[in-house]
């Protein structure tokens, strides 16, 4: 009987995912080799170098993956809370006994091995969240459930912020995606993403562009809530007409208001007219949109205001570092620039393996960890970047498919957690290297150098695969 069950597990294992996982590991290994290549240690198996060490981490990861598959999946269920509690203790302990690296205290040092509890906290939180929400009696909009859910997510965030490791703590907000899938109103997710975008943009852009962006966003929102093709076209025409009239007015009046502001005022006026019309037409969501517009404007200005007047100088500089300003002796965002130059110089097909000069000559910082994508972009070009992104999309969509085919809500919720975490890492990491996201130091899953993150991601993935392999026998 025992034998039988084992065979079923191996047969039911989602091998496509396993293969994609292995391919990503190997790409990561080769990229690290290329990123920190050193003539004096040219063997990729040289364990005194990062690539040799990564190989050891990889072999360990395969062993870990095996062990996870061989573990009874009820064990994860049973120990969800226990594991969560244990990780919380580790996060507290690291504040007192951790090793300080780059002015944040987030590592345990055991001999030659460094363990970063924050990496494992994501996994623990995913398990605990799945355990908590899978209880059928709990409805997500019950305030009590909401409070408890927030607590499960925010407790590790707080502890990680104390280290401080802003990058890792931000990842936890990706659990909103899971809550959304489990029924949380879309507005929360929408506002969250929007405020993230606004916060970053408010600090990166000047106010006028910002305002224009807001107005256009709200216009788009209004158009969306009209939910009717005829109305939408009519709305657009009204918008264009009002905006045109305002601009014409400015032209004729010959004011000395700068053009940017003229456009903003025109768009604002058009939005207002549109809003009034939709209010008269009793279109229900319009007041909400207007409320959003004003909240967003106030928020945008308050970000700047709080940043300039309320925060202490060292807090400001910390945020500046997060946003890649302070790290920047050459005036503009130096790291991002070098990273973009490295990627951009790859061209269509890349410079070839080990031929990248930008990464070789240390123009790019952290090239084997957070900026590993630079090496891929430079040496394998657009083609290589496309292949890598395709692999990640394949992985994520496959995981989506797997999550959806689970019969137990526990496994599904957990699956979405994995998707959300991988997705956030992918978007933030690659976005950072090509200069569309501020510099937030989080690794690219399976590719970046480092044992902790590799193992944590592997365990995360294989627990899901373990649930998936047993989905037929596992009902709850």
């Amino acid at each position: 009987m025992q034998m039988n069950r084992r065979i079923n597990i191996w047969r039911n294992l989602d091998w496509l995912t396993v293969i994609v996982w292995l391919v990503l590991l190997i790409i990561g290994w080769i990229s690290i080799y290329s990123a920190v290549y050193d003539d004096a240690h040219s063997s990729i198996f040289d364990t005194s170098q990062r690539y040799g060490k990564q190989l050891i981490w990889m072999i360990a990861a395969v062993v870990i993956a095996f062990s996870v598959i061989l573990t009874d999946n009820k064990l994860f269920l049973f120990f969800s809370y226990f594991f969560y509690g244990f990780t919380i203790l580790l996060l507290i302990a690291v504040l007192f006994f951790g090793t300080e690296v780059n002015s944040s205290q987030s590592w345990f040092q055991f001999g030659g091995i460094q363990i970063q509890p924050a990496e494992f906290a994501k996994l623990a939180t995913a398990l605990a969240l799945a355990q908590f929400l899978s209880n059928t009696k709990r409805k997500i909009h019950d305030p009590k459930v909401l409070v408890n859910t927030s607590f499960i997510i925010l407790l590790p965030v707080m502890l990680i912020l104390l280290q401080p490791d802003v990058g890792s703590s931000l990842v936890f907000f990706s659990f909103l995606l899971v809550l959304y899938r489990e029924g949380l109103t879309g507005w929360v997710l929408f506002f969250f993403i929007l405020f993230c975008v606004l916060s970053v943009l408010a600090l990166l852009m000047n106010e006028i562009n910002m305002l224009a962006l807001l107005v256009l966003t709200s216009f788009a929102a209004i158009v969306t809530v009209l939910r009717n093709a005829k109305l939408t076209i009519r709305g657009l025409l009204i918008f264009a007409a009002v905006a045109g009239i305002v601009i014409l007015f400015f032209r004729l009046a010959g004011t000395d208001i700068i053009v940017d502001l003229q456009l903003v005022i025109a768009a604002a006026a058009a939005s207002l007219v549109l809003f009034i019309i939709s209010a008269i037409g009793r279109i229900s969501n319009a007041p909400l949109v207007l409320g959003f517009l004003f909240t967003a404007i106030i928020y945008t200005y308050s970000v700047d205001y709080v940043f300039d007047n309320v925060l202490m100088p060292h807090q400001r500089s910390r945020i500046n570092i997060v946003l890649g300003f302070e790290d920047d002796p050459l005036g503009q965002s130096y790291n991002i620039n070098q990273s973009k130059i490295a990627i951009g110089s790859g061209g269509l097909t890349g410079r070839g393996f080990l031929q990248g000069t930008q990464t070789k000559f240390n123009f790019v910082p952290e090239q084997s960890t957070d900026f590993i994508f630079c090496t891929i972009g430079e040496e394998w070009g657009f083609t290589g970047s496309l292949v890598l992104l395709a692999l990640f999309v394949l992985l994520l969509l496959r995981l989506l498919y797997i999550a959806e085919r689970q019969r137990s809500s526990y496994a599904r919720i957990y699956g979405y957690s994995v998707i959300a975490i991988f997705f956030t890492h992918l978007v933030v990491n690659i976005g950072m290297t090509i200069g569309v996201v501020p510099v937030i130091g989080i690794p690219l899953p399976f590719i970046s150098y480092g044992g902790s993150s590799l193992w944590a991601f592997t365990i995360m993935l294989f627990i899901l695969l373990r649930f998936d392999a047993a989905r037929m026998e596992f009902l709850r």
């Binding site: 061209g347 992104l389 999309v393 969509l397």
Partner: protein, 618 residues
């Protein structure tokens, strides 16, 4: 499927696809459409220029400068940054041929595409000036300032050693070095490499496609200044060393002089020697080849590496052991019929007063006396067997630092040889040999072999009445302390009371009223105590040996002199040692001894021996 939000999977799927699509578009613009990044990349050439620290200076004990540095320029190449250039012009500036350019670039490429290799070493300041103006035409090349060793005094080549480029083996052992770095290869330069070398620094520059430096990389955030090496002061007395080298000219051999109370080496001469300048810079390889093919082997440091018999000087040690073991006391006397005969074996002795006790036996270097006490020691019933007695003797001998490296601060020191009992077991069979078979050890001959520094150390131990401090050449180093090992007294197994009769004998050997072996070494007012030796040399004429220290009370200098193939100890070694002592203690040679100095300077054993000189190694 009981959940009502299953449709949201499409929205989530779209949310995943959307940023990825955005990234792909962005990457397409960045990598394929926009050529400006490729342009930036090509102008984004980084050059790491190593800042070589100047090596620490070396002074003698009186503060005289022995080694300093002189600037030099190396032309470096980074193969990955090379672009086609005008080879003809390049060659004419540097006065090299095209073949050289090709082979060197190929060699550099083989070493590393991304790291710099030395292309041409030590170009002159003039060439450097011309080249500097044309550098923009030769991307991938740059000039690296270096320093070379300079020796204001043409002495002490063996002590100072030389500096050379690291080889692959050294890099593997010590990853802090890279190809082209200089490292101490022998002598003090090697022993104190860590102190002298300092720390390399690095400056990173941005260089454009035209090989022009555009500024420092990231405002010098990654630059590290070079830390100059620490200066060191040697215990060497430069004028004594120079004098010793002069006395030893045209002779093969060695002088080692030590300050007994501290173990500091005052002089360490090995001749023939060479000019230290010969092993500096571009000429080094050629000169090195020449020096190493010289049959007199000038690169060989005889003071530390030559194995000689101890000769009669070793009688002092045997006397001390016999006294310590209670075989005799200082008044036990022995008649000498002019030879020592047992069965068919006869060892001849000189004519001298008889009978002799310890002091007189040393004074006249009586072979009979020392054969007797040595055999009495080995055969003494209290040990149970000859082997046991031999081992007692051997332990005493080894306590003087024989048969082992002294661990002086020199590389390549040899250990000499004090034969173990098993050595004779192999020849004669276990317990099959008697004291008679090894009696030549009584006279410092036989299988025993020593190095000059070991002999000087024995002399220091006697001068100190029972202890020595490991001989060392380092006196002081800036910013750190000298090895505590060099402050520690190492006691021999002989009690201090037994030294007086032996020292009395050494005093009388030099000053003796009725015949001493080394009366030529007498210097008015210096109370020199000494012992001659004539080390029998199976390959040719005997070596002349002399050990001495002075003054008798509170000794300032202990010295050992070996002159190869020069015959009796009193002929060459004793006069040279006495001149050295006189020079050191009085600062000059008294008028009534100038003739002796002159005779020593003129003595020539090399040209006489050139024919079989290569036989003299042993």
């Amino acid at each position: 499927m009981k959940d009502h939000f299953s449709d949201r999977k499409y929205i989530i799927g779209a949310m995943i696809m959307l940023p990825v699509l955005f990234f792909i578009i962005r990457l397409f613009i960045l990598q394929v459409l926009d050529p400006s990044y490729q342009l930036s990349a090509s102008s984004n050439v980084l050059r790491n220029v190593t800042q070589y620290p100047s090596r620490g200076l070396i002074y003698d004990r009186t503060g005289e400068l022995l080694v300093y540095n002189e600037p030099a320029y190396d032309l470096m190449v980074v193969p990955a940054q090379l672009a086609p250039f005008d080879t003809a012009e390049f060659c004419s500036i540097l006065e090299i041929d095209k073949e050289y350019v090709d082979t060197e670039i190929a060699r550099a490429r083989e070493y590393s595409r991304f790291r710099s290799s030395v292309f041409l070493k030590q170009i002159s300041a003039l060439t450097y000036a011309v080249l500097q103006e044309k550098m923009y035409k030769f991307p991938g090349f740059y000039v690296q300032p270096r320093t070379l060793r300079k020796y204001p005094k043409d002495i002490a080549a063996h002590i100072l050693g030389y500096v050379g480029e690291v080889d692959r083996r050294m890099i593997e052992e010590n990853p802090g070095y890279v190809m082209g770095d200089y490292i101490g290869i022998t002598g003090v330069e090697k022993t104190y490499e860590e102190e002298l070398s300092g720390e390399k620094g690095v400056s990173r520059f941005l260089v454009d496609v035209h090989n022009r430096v555009m500024g420092s990389y990231q405002d010098g955030r990654f630059d590290a200044p070079a830390v100059v090496g620490n200066d060191i002061t040697l215990s060497l007395d430069a004028s004594l060393q120079a004098y010793g080298e002069k006395l030893m000219q045209n002779k093969i051999g060695s002088i080692v002089a030590i300050e007994p109370s501290t173990g500091e080496i005052l002089s360490l001469v090995s001749t023939p020697t060479y000019h230290p300048e010969l092993l500096v810079g571009r000429v080094r390889t050629r000169n090195f080849r020449q020096l190493s093919s010289d049959t007199l082997n000038p690169l060989f440091n005889r003071a530390l590496m030559a194995h000689y018999p101890a000769g009669s000087t070793f009688k002092i040690v045997n006397g001390l052991i016999a006294l310590q073991e209670g075989i005799i006391d200082d008044v036990t006397s022995q008649t000498c019929p002019g030879h020592y005969t047992v069965g068919r074996l006869t060892i001849r002795c000189r004519h001298h007063v008889t009978p002799v006790a310890m002091a007189a036996a040393i004074q006249v270097s009586c072979n009979t006396y020392f054969c007797h006490i040595f055999r009495d020691l080995l055969d003494h019933p209290k040990y149970g067997s000859v082997t046991a007695g031999f081992n007692v003797w051997r332990d005493h001998v080894r306590s003087f630092g024989l048969g082992e490296r002294l661990d002086a601060d020199f590389p390549n020191e040899l250990r000499g040889f004090v034969p173990p009992a098993t050595y004779y077991d192999r020849f004669y069979g276990e317990n099959r040999w008697r004291s008679l078979q090894v009696v030549s050890l009584a006279l410092g001959q036989g299988e025993l072999s020593v190095t000059p520094i070991q002999m000087a150390n024995i002399t220091a131990a006697i001068a100190n009445r029972g202890f020595y401090i490991t001989p060392h050449i380092l006196k002081d180093v800036a910013n750190s302390d000298i090895d505590p090992e060099f402050r520690e007294k190492k006691y021999t197994t002989i009690d201090s009371i037994w030294f007086e009769p032996v020292i009395e004998g050494m005093y009388r050997a030099v000053h003796g009223p009725d015949g001493g072996t080394a009366r030529i070494a007498q210097v008015q007012g210096l109370d020199i105590c000494g012992k001659t030796g004539t080390a029998e040399n199976p390959h040719g004429d005997d070596h002349s040996v002399f050990l001495a220290f002075a003054p008798r009370n509170n000794p300032q200098i202990a010295i050992a002199v070996y002159v190869e193939n020069a015959g009796f100890g009193a002929t060459m070694a004793a006069p040279i040692a006495s001149l050295m002592i006189e020079k050191y203690l009085n600062g000059e040679i008294a008028g009534n001894r100038k003739w002796l100095e002159q005779r020593m300077l003129e003595a020539d054993f090399i040209n006489r021996l050139v024919a079989d000189a290569d036989e003299q190694e042993n």
